[in-house]
């Protein structure tokens, strides 16, 4: 066999292996989709059809016409939006401080932030519950926004620090020589250059906040305040589970995150470099 045809066989084999691996790895999402578009309306049919012969979006219609699911989506949207509006500016400031001023206090704060994101949240939820109960803030979206923000801050600050580290200081020097102060240099020069980094951090914060479970579960007691993850689990606690509807709601819930992820993906390696990003 010539070298060229050997290479061709190798590429074909490789592509086949990759395709098989992708099929296995994506299968849980695929299966969720197949379940959600099941024509019989009930997923409890046996044997299951691996490739559906006919599909129907009836379960989506039922899910989205029921008031409670829409309500949970609105709650999730509000909490996520408020969280990023609070977390991203605060994290940018902290990240900038950590990137540019490396003296006593700032270094230690940076170290504490690194440790903070490794703490078990099931431990912290006990005193946090106390704290918000005493403040009369149980079943309150702002309590959840505060808790989410604080848990996202360590990741987001370090991510922003990584982006700021890659911006040459000479740019700010010029602004400072021209008589500006650090704040104007930060606002006028650093922020515009860091827009891609800000976007990546925003997306990352959205993904974390959108899927957050334990704080929402503990702090939000009334079903009208629930976010989608809590609502989804309540479906499964019912006696008969409508898996087609559960999967329809779950997939609708996941679509925005996956779209955001596709935008984020190329920045992800950079963000990971700045201290290992993992929810």
């Amino acid at each position: 066999m010539s070298a060229r045809s050997r290479r061709r066989v190798r590429t074909a084999l490789l592509t086949a292996v990759v395709a098989a691996v992708c099929m296995v790895l994506v299968f849980p999402v695929y299966w969720g989709f197949v379940t959600s578009v099941n024509i019989s309306g009930s997923s409890l049919a046996y044997p299951p059809e691996l490739i559906p012969s006919a599909i129907s979006f009836e379960s989506y219609r039922r899910i989205l016409s029921g008031g409670s699911v829409l309500r949970w989506f609105a709650n999730s949207g509000f909490v996520t939006l408020a969280t990023i509006l609070l977390a991203v500016p605060v994290a940018s400031l902290a990240g900038y401080s950590m990137s540019r001023f490396k003296f006593f206090g700032v270094r230690e704060a940076g170290g504490f932030l690194l440790v903070a994101r490794m703490l078990p949240s099931t431990l912290l939820i006990i005193p946090i519950y106390y704290l918000f109960a005493r403040a009369g803030m149980l079943n309150n979206h702002f309590a959840l926004v505060l808790a989410n923000t604080t848990f996202i801050l360590p990741f987001a600050s370090w991510m922003m620090k990584g982006f700021f580290d890659s911006i040459p200081r000479e740019l700010e020097e010029a602004a400072l020589i021209d008589g500006g102060n650090t704040l104007t240099a930060f606002w006028r020069i650093v922020i515009p250059i860091s827009l891609p980094g800000l976007a990546a951090t925003t997306i990352y914060c959205s993904i974390l906040s959108w899927g957050e479970f334990i704080f929402a579960k503990t702090l939000l007691t009334g079903s009208d305040k629930w976010t989608v993850p809590i609502g989804l689990t309540s479906f499964v606690q019912e006696y008969t589970v409508r898996w087609d509807e559960v999967m329809a709601a779950a997939l609708t819930f996941v679509v925005p995150v996956i779209l955001l992820f596709i935008v984020l993906e190329r920045y992800l390696v950079q963000g990971l470099g700045s201290g290992g990003v993992k929810g």
């Binding site: 490789l14 592509t15 990759v18 790895l25 994506v26 999402v29 299951p48 691996l50 605060v90 400031l93 902290a94 900038y96 540019r100 490396k102 003296f103 206090g105 932030l113 690194l114 440790v115 903070a116 490794m118 703490l119 078990p120 099931t122 431990l123 912290l124 939820i125 006990i126 005193p127 946090i128 704290l131 505060l146 923000t149 604080t150 848990f151 801050l153 600050s157 200081r169 400072l176 650090t182 704040l183 479970f213 503990t218 993850p229 689990t233 499964v236 898996w243 559960v246 999967m247 779950a250 995150v257 984020l264 993906e265 992800l268 390696v269 990971l272 201290g275 290992g276 993992k278 929810g279």
Partner: protein, 309 residues
Amino acid sequence: MYTDRKPPLLGRWKPGLKLSRRLTAYGFLAPAAILVCLIIAYPLVVAATISFHDIRIFQSLSNLADSANLENYRRLFANDAFWRALRTSLIYVVVTNAVALFIGLSTALLLNQRFPGRNVARMLVMLPWPVPGVVAALAFTWMFNTSFGVINYLLLELNLVNAPVAWFTSTIPAFIAVIAATAWQGYPFFTIMLLAALQAIPGELYEAASVDGANSRQSFWRITLPALRPVIGISVLISSLWVLRNFDIIYVMTGGGPSRRTETLAVQIYVESFEYLKMGYASSIGMVTLVIALALAFFYLRYIGKDFY
């Protein structure tokens, strides 16, 4: 990146403004510091405090009935349930990481090759990364459903089992289901980290090796793996901390069952506090978990310290 050789740049032209520079630094940090103190540091102190008291329900912390004592810790270390949870956590962390690292390394090596449609493949491989834990848990709960689940269907069709496996009513099958879901959510992290590391290995190394007559297996063991070792180490550490803290997947899939056999430390803290309402006792489990997490974090900080500060 900052090195000690450079003098601090921002202070150079305004030597008189050292204090203002300091204030700017602290001012920028202040909002984050306030939030973190309020929602992480202060609760940590409260958790440590209540771990020394017998608190059964949500009661006021200002008038505690007992003085600080080690009773919770004494009961904890005498309790089989705690040791079982510790062991469960250990198995969960080790097995999940092993599976996730294996998938992550394999996919990273595949994605590092040249083939048509590589960008699409990369996107598909990394797809589970942003999927929320609850969704992963529900998808796997459904797949592992005993009567209607697709896993049992495939196992029966392929004649790997004679009767449907009751996944959630015995220990090891329940463990398999939970670990499958966690590893599925966790492997893309390894793929991302290892793929970046692979792409940083200079191609000349492989060329030189093949000139010297090395085959691709030798290249893998002698070049690729040694180059990946530091990244594998740090990724396993970060991932371990993540699995140790993981709560939603086990809680949603098994609730710690059957008969608390898949109850990790993270889940046990929650069950003891919010289901049995033993807040003091739960906090003492939490403090032990915290010590384990901090021990892991210590190694992480030592590694990061070299690079980032």
